[in-house]
């Protein structure tokens, strides 16, 4: 079964499928360092979670990973293998903690495998081959950009959905760690819609030389997470 028959070739259905929490990437096991803050009490309420998640969305995800997804989408459309490797290398180098780097590579590899298995896309097998050969680590944003391109999603759809699913996934993880109601969690996601639009614009205007991260306190939290005595999340 190939792309033409998957979801009847309907791009919207494909998009809903790859951004669904049930799509097997393992993203729901990664707090990206937020579990450290919850564990030490620095993050204890839905309001604090909202502020921190919006900061992460705007100043880490938009300027780094979502920008990488947009660049990968363009590289895939132009069959630019070296470009994909460069994006992937940059994504890895910008993650300063082991767990952040591993989380990105683990979920990327899982997304590539799922993309190949579910949609039978030859390009996803190529990505897996690049990872297997050590040419790249297969960071999630790079793989997502390639998958979105192969599923004929536009660059804008790719970036907006990447941002939305990233936020949605992180809120889902935090909801399991904090006393926060389901409605509160969903409201944070819904309220972020205008910010996601702005973040998509920011992400699409970044290039390799301007991909950046700014959430230094989260870097430290992610490093501390490696040695948390009790934890539920991988990162």
């Amino acid at each position: 079964m190939g792309l033409r028959t998957s979801n009847g070739g309907d791009g919207l259905l494909a998009l809903l499928q790859i951004t669904n929490a049930a799509f097997p990437t393992g993203a729901f096991t990664h707090s990206l360092g937020f579990e450290t803050w919850i564990s030490d009490g620095a993050l204890a309420s839905a309001a604090q979670a909202q502020t921190s998640c919006r900061d992460w969305l705007r100043f880490n995800l938009a300027t780094c990973d979502a920008a990488g997804a947009a660049l990968a989408h363009r590289c895939a459309a132009m069959d630019d293998r070296d470009g994909l490797i460069a994006v992937d290398t940059q994504l890895g180098a910008l993650k300063l903690s082991r767990e952040a780097r591993q989380a990105s590579a683990m979920t990327g590899a899982a997304l590539a495998a799922a993309g190949r298995a579910v949609f039978a896309l030859p390009r996803m097998s190529e990505v897996e081959r690049l990872i297997g050969e050590g040419a790249c680590q297969g960071h999630h944003a790079m793989v997502y950009g390639v998958l979105a391109s192969e599923l004929r999603l536009t660059e804008d759809q790719c970036v907006v959905s990447y941002l939305w699913s990233g936020l949605s996934s992180l809120i889902g993880v935090i909801q399991r760690l904090l006393p926060m109601g389901q409605a509160d969690a969903q409201r944070i996601i819904a309220d972020a819609a205008p910010l996601i639009e702005r973040c998509a614009e920011i992400a699409r205007t970044r290039d390799l030389a301007t991909m950046a991260t700014a959430y230094a306190a989260l870097d430290a939290a992610s490093m501390q997470h490696e040695r948390l005595p009790t934890r539920l999340c991988i990162s």
């Binding site: 705007r58 100043f59 959430y215 870097d219 430290a220 501390q224």
Partner: protein
Amino acid sequence: MDVVLPDPAWIIGKHALLNLHVVQRNGRTEIDPKSWRIPYQWQGCHYQDHDDQPFLLTINSGGGFVEGDAADLYATMEAGTRALITTTAASKFYKCPQGATSRETIRLKVGERALLEYHPDEAILFAGSRVERRTVIDLEPSSRLFATDMIAAGRVHYGAGEAFQFRALRSEFEVRLAGRPVVLDRLIAEDGEEVDALQRLWGGASHLATVVAVGAELPDRIERTLDEALATCSVATSGASRMGNVVVCRILGAEAWACHEAVFRCWRALRPHLAGKPARPIRKC
């Protein structure tokens, strides 16, 4: 080695340039200045550990970066050399009322089996400053590195304090191994929203320090040792992480002295493995 020549368009006194060649000679490492241009000054180096490793204190007699000033430092370290490069004082980036940007570029190439200890003072971003900083360190597979980078968000004790009042910052601290970036700490804050947000993104701290160490000799669990060394420092938060032979530490603090102390503790934990000798306070005067 490649020597970078000054552009004739550079205004004398506004664009510092220093090209260094680090070689093995006379049974020790020596540093040759291949060229320099004011306000970088060359006053030689000295051997504070009383062994083969020179300590170089770079001297920028400009005293700071006035609007539009630039400084470029290039160094090529030959195989088997070891050197420590630091500054005489913090890099002060002054206000840029005309909208020009001040730039500092550091490009260091470390040869096979060579050791670089790059430990400059902090960059202080004055109110109204526009700053671009770029440090790139190129390593070979057998090179060793201890490198630090520190940003002060302003003169925190000036008047009522003026942290996070700079106009724009692009800061890059990159370490490459065999040509591939392995650590890229790139921060871009170019409008009011991005600069203001840093107060939250740095957890309320006004100083950000990053330590990077690279070496096959780093022992197992060195990141735990670093964490323990940092735990009792007077900083807001910190962390240490290891990825293969690369160790990265993040340190966020309210005071420069506390961050310096934390960085020194990292050096104390790492230096015996990288340089085979203990860390020591660096004499600067």
